[in-house]
Subunit: 377 residues, 2 copies
Amino acid sequence: MLKSSRDSAGRTQLAFEDIEDLARGAAFLGAGGGGDPYIGRLMAEHAVREFGMPEIISVDDLDADTNVFPVAMVGAPTVMVEKGVSGADVDLSVNRLAAIIGKKPDAITPIEIGGINSMLPIVAAARLGLPLVDCDGMGRAFPEIQMVTFNVYGVSATPAVIVNEHLDTVIVETCGDAKRAEDLIRVAAIQMGLSVMFSGYPLNGQQVKDYGVKGTLSLALNIGRAIRRGRSEGNPFESLLAYLRSTEYFNRCKVLFDGKVTDVMRETTKGFAMGHCEIRNMDDESDSMHIQFQNENLLAKRNGKTVAVVPDLISIVDGETADPITVEALRYGQRVKVIGTSAAPVMRTAEALAVFGPEQFGLDEKFLPIEELHDDI
Amino acid sequence: MLKSSRDSAGRTQLAFEDIEDLARGAAFLGAGGGGDPYIGRLMAEHAVREFGMPEIISVDDLDADTNVFPVAMVGAPTVMVEKGVSGADVDLSVNRLAAIIGKKPDAITPIEIGGINSMLPIVAAARLGLPLVDCDGMGRAFPEIQMVTFNVYGVSATPAVIVNEHLDTVIVETCGDAKRAEDLIRVAAIQMGLSVMFSGYPLNGQQVKDYGVKGTLSLALNIGRAIRRGRSEGNPFESLLAYLRSTEYFNRCKVLFDGKVTDVMRETTKGFAMGHCEIRNMDDESDSMHIQFQNENLLAKRNGKTVAVVPDLISIVDGETADPITVEALRYGQRVKVIGTSAAPVMRTAEALAVFGPEQFGLDEKFLPIEELHDDI
């Protein structure tokens, strides 16, 4: 039984039973990345059982001077799912950031809504007794630390703190260049075991209002619900697409392909899960889709023609249940559907594309919105 | 003209003219590592001209609770000689360490006496208006951060701060494992350009008294003087060896070889200058010495037989002037002598050898003191 998800003031509140739906929806928004939602769900449920469910607050309710700390796991999802977090690492990353900047956090926010990184902020907020802001810095998941709206619009990524399971801690302070921070944090994270707790981009409430992708916790929860309800009604895809079309950001969407995974090439290298997969049409062997990923799915081509490209979302889901499949869970023989979804408008500006457009991933593609690539969206 | 190097209380004081001798002596103790002493000398002279010569204080004059901050450059000497330091990076590394541990430094100490890292603490002490302790943590140079007496005898290497020329800063906090700190600092230093300012191993006066290699600034100065004076008297080698034999630590020493450099293999890889060189006897082509290095010379073999091994010092010097030659300055055709020197006793204990004995460098050798390898020492 689901409890009501809105309190009397109209704010989204999470119930324990919501975590599973939220994890499923976040895995969809993870677009292949963000790590196994099952692991994330277990971590969140464990923390909530021990410390209670954090209050969810809307961006509109933030004061301009509220101190908001983003938290995330950084590393390769292939490693994250094996290592998890201890809790002490979560606390330490936030507490060291607070000590370094000399400000106590008033609230926690996800930095990306995809996968484990939608769950981890629940862990942090629950453990630290802080509210969680209904927002993130991507409206999806991305592999690198500079690929965040906060950076696009001028917030410094540093000081940033990373902590591993031994509580080894690395604090990075750069002079405003988030890509340099990413490069430093990446080599440190690799050395620290390729799955670390991150707290950085310390924000004030005004910055969250100005640059955050708002309401994404609620959106992820409702995506997860739509899939679950659709299943019980016999068509999770219809239910999912209907919900997406009703949203402010994700309203341009389409099932791009239906088929069987016939090839997966995946390496954990340079600190990421890198590779590609091929999916073939079961009714027409000559019809196939090729998807390239770096933690997240970046580019989908059907028979050589681009059908969706980053920062728009490319999500591979189970062909029966619509359960999202992360890149590390891709296997030969899976029956899947590929769903393309529009990214939030704040993620598609020229400034944003200069940070996480296709060229930033080394792709020889220009960004074209999914609704321009298809006549029927 | 040299000014007196002892004040009325018997303490060593440095004059501006001493810097050149100190740099030469430190290059000898650098055992091939520590970077070009000429560059180090220019940096020290520049800082002393601008800020004045720092007071040199003896370990005996330290109070037990004096806060002593070691400083050094970390990286590959091949890169250090190209990049130098700006000064602001030096200040920032010390000031960030002070802020992190909440203690102001009362004095600066070298962490290694070899090469640039004997000069850099002069820069730091001059700029920050602090005295410089006549001591270090090796009595030589070593390539890695855990290879310090302070670590051998239980002082934490961290918090440690590294800063590059952009003032990008990385702070490492580990739970007492200095090798883990080294691994983290190394990958960060590589990412930051392979030559960074380091401040770590924050010490109190008692720890310096208990674990430091005492008087090594004075020893380096006097080694540099002995070479210079010997030159004007026609035999710098005799003068150098006579002085070394009069010292407390370096009294077992020998010219191990005399010849011409006939091969150098040197790579800047994994964050170090790695490689080996071959030196041939000019009078007997079948007689040769092979020296292996990782920033510093580690192992000298004559015709396949070990004649000196780390932590004892293996210094290659110019065959005419006895000017020390660092590994990055080795060239085909150089006429050189190789001098082996005993390390300080504190560097030869079982605990010390477990940190920087030959096995720690991947060498298939046991440590044998130079005086046991030669009947005539």
